[in-house]
Symmetry: C2
Subunit: 396 residues, 2 copies
């Protein structure tokens, strides 16, 4: 049994923030019905290369465990179909710009009339109110506004974007937690649903944690620190002979002893400039290049092994080819294959939550556009003739 078995989710989302939320709900057993525009579907179906066959790698990466229904929500009959589905649904997730669902006559107020228990989650760039509410959201621009770019990258260099779309993914995760919290409340406190207004900007700000606390305590915005630590040396990335990078974290006097031993440089341990961390911070500009040059003598993996052998925290800086060949990643089933109706077998990232009693599973491959129209509409009571008519008139 899946933990969310029996939960029906109407998914009106495209691209990443919303689809990541509904991916989480689908992976653990919800019936997620992904509602897409007839003819084109989720924009990301076209976002390639790369493609595998006719499917974009982007779309395939966040849409398994969902069924696809096409509905042109500008059409009144499509809106009626949606409300029939909603009457019997538990959750709606949408990530249109605020106001669009109202123009489709499918606002929370409208849906609530047919289903007072609905949990209705809107994800937008800036939220349903405030001076920026109608601005569109792009991950890169949100990463700039939220402050995360200002603290990512080398001090003295340009601000950097995080290599994954964290503004989208973070918002999707907050939304999934919010939906579960509202479903739990509904299950334990009398069946009432509610509306959830989730903004990508709020979601990012809530992650600022220590960096926000630093600003609150000092009145100064934290600075970019690159891959180094401001007050510990050596605590950063270095490059090995093979051009691969590795991290090492010498966070205490005892670790400095072991570090010098592990890399066979007891001369540094005796050196008067590097006796304690304060000295090493002072002499950082001499010590770091010296170490970097020395580390060009062996491959990154060899240094990591040498350092781990003396219990100094160290690890490789893997690229994604390394990651998906890593023995721990494979042991934990974070790389899985699943059958796909047109592509044979496709690769997917695995399920990060290991429940002892009710594990999730890869049950449905990322759907073809409208793949489940007939099944879903038949279950709602529409006849084959109805479905043909809706198909001919562009409703579905």
């Amino acid at each position: 049994m899946r933990p969310l078995e029996g939960i029906k989710v109407l998914d009106l989302t495209r691209a990443l923030a919303g689809p990541f939320c509904t991916l989480m709900l689908g992976d653990y057993g919800s019936d997620v019905i992904k509602i897409e525009m007839p003819g084109t579907g989720d924009d990301t179906r076209q976002w390639g290369p790369p493609f595998i066959g006719d499917e974009s790698a982007y779309f395939l990466s966040v849409n398994r465990n969902k069924r696809s229904l096409t509905l042109n929500l500008r059409d009144e009959q499509a809106q009626q179909v949606f409300l029939k589905l909603a009457a019997d649904a538990d959750v709606i997730v949408e990530n249109f710009t605020p106001g669009v669902m109202g123009r489709f006559n499918l606002s929370y107020e409208a849906v609530q009339q047919v289903n007072p228990g609905i949990v209705y989650c809107s994800i937008s760039g800036f939220g349903a109110n405030g001076p920026y509410q109608s601005r569109p959201a792009y991950d890169q621009i949100m990463q700039g506004i939220s402050g995360i770019m200002s603290i990512t990258g080398d001090l003295g260099g340009d601000p950097q974007k995080v290599g994954i779309a964290v503004a989208d993914i973070g918002a999707g995760m907050w939304a999934a937690f919010a939906v579960m919290t509202a479903l739990f409340h509904r299950a334990t406190a009398g069946g009432k649903g509610q509306y959830i207004d989730l903004s990508m900007l709020d979601a990012q700000v809530a992650w600022m944690t220590y960096q926000a606390g630093y600003y609150f305590a000092t009145g100064e915005a934290p600075k970019r620190l690159g891959a180094a630590h401001p007050t510990l040396v050596p605590y950063q990335a270095f490059m090995g002979q093979d051009g691969k990078y590795f991290n090492v974290a010498v966070g205490s006097a005892r670790l400095w002893d072991r570090f010098c031993q592990g890399i066979d440089r007891m001369d540094l341990h005796q050196h008067p400039d590097y006796l304690d961390n304060g000295q090493r911070v002072t002499h950082r500009s001499a010590l770091v290049p010296l170490l970097q040059e020395y580390f060009l003598k062996k491959d990154a993996d060899e240094w990591v092994a040498d350092l781990q052998a003396v219990s100094v925290p160290a690890g490789p800086i893997n690229d994604l080819a390394d990651v998906f060949n890593d023995p721990q990643v494979l042991h934990r089933e974070m790389l899985l294959d699943m059958p796909h109706p047109t592509l044979g077998s496709i690769k997917q990232t695995g399920l990060p939550i290991k429940f002892s009693g009710t594990p999730g599973a890869l049950e449905k491959p990322p759907p073809l556009l409208g793949e489940h129209n007939h099944a879903i509409l038949t279950a709602l009571g529409y006849s084959d003739a109805d479905i043909d008519r809706m198909s001919g008139t562009g409703v579905i």
Copy 2:
């Protein structure tokens, strides 16, 4: 009413991944009892500067809405107190290295005997099994292993760490979603609890989405792209006259027209080298420096206003001082004050989930070490004499 009112969480976590999970549970109404080592408490209480009074900015940033109970879990009597609390609890979250809870005689199996409904979540670096299971976890080293550093930073430059501890925060968010999913399952399917084995590495790998899909489709690891887009120009960060940066995203031919108009450079629009995006990608090394030099004529905010006026996606790259003075952030109550027993008023980041029916709230300031010992132990039935004795013998 809070959505998680009545839920009792025993929080055996330190630093960030676990505390972020229990922060989420506390913000929305759970009674979170933070169990800390007598005398020292959560390591992050000492992680400064900066401090505000005697409290570290780090600790203050992720521990509101929790009560503090000191328990030396190596002590048998403390273990008995813990099991008494656990008998009546809904959730346990811990982030010790795998095996430590067993050495405290407080493994899932032990707790399950006194409370079969318990939802018991362990957060660790690599999970409860596999070749790396016993390795310690540090955010920087996890960011290296998970692949996120390999795709963050400029192409040709060093890999960069994300400026916030995303490996910790991401794991905390997966854990909170997992706990809610298990609680929902328990509430709707007969009251059974379960064990959740959550690894920071799995949690990061599950975020790789498109970048994982790119690797699966092409067999090649995605590269670092800095703050620029590989196949769209201009789509990146630029610096203004005031040294501040801003993002601009010219994602279509129509946006290039508007961009040239918005910055008053119709000469570029007519220029044969820049007629379409393909041309602009080819001539990127001429166009980008030309634009960067031109953008030094006005402040970043002025360029953002000019571009937004013609509906070109653009936005500032805010530092955290900008963020916490931004009108949208303030409108959305993402900066809040709360009273603190020794510090007067402290600033906190706000609550990113806006529930229409059951909003969260800041109800309890980050606790002093052992602040709630007396209240919690009295409620368990211990007398003042018992409590004094436990205090004198280092049990609490």
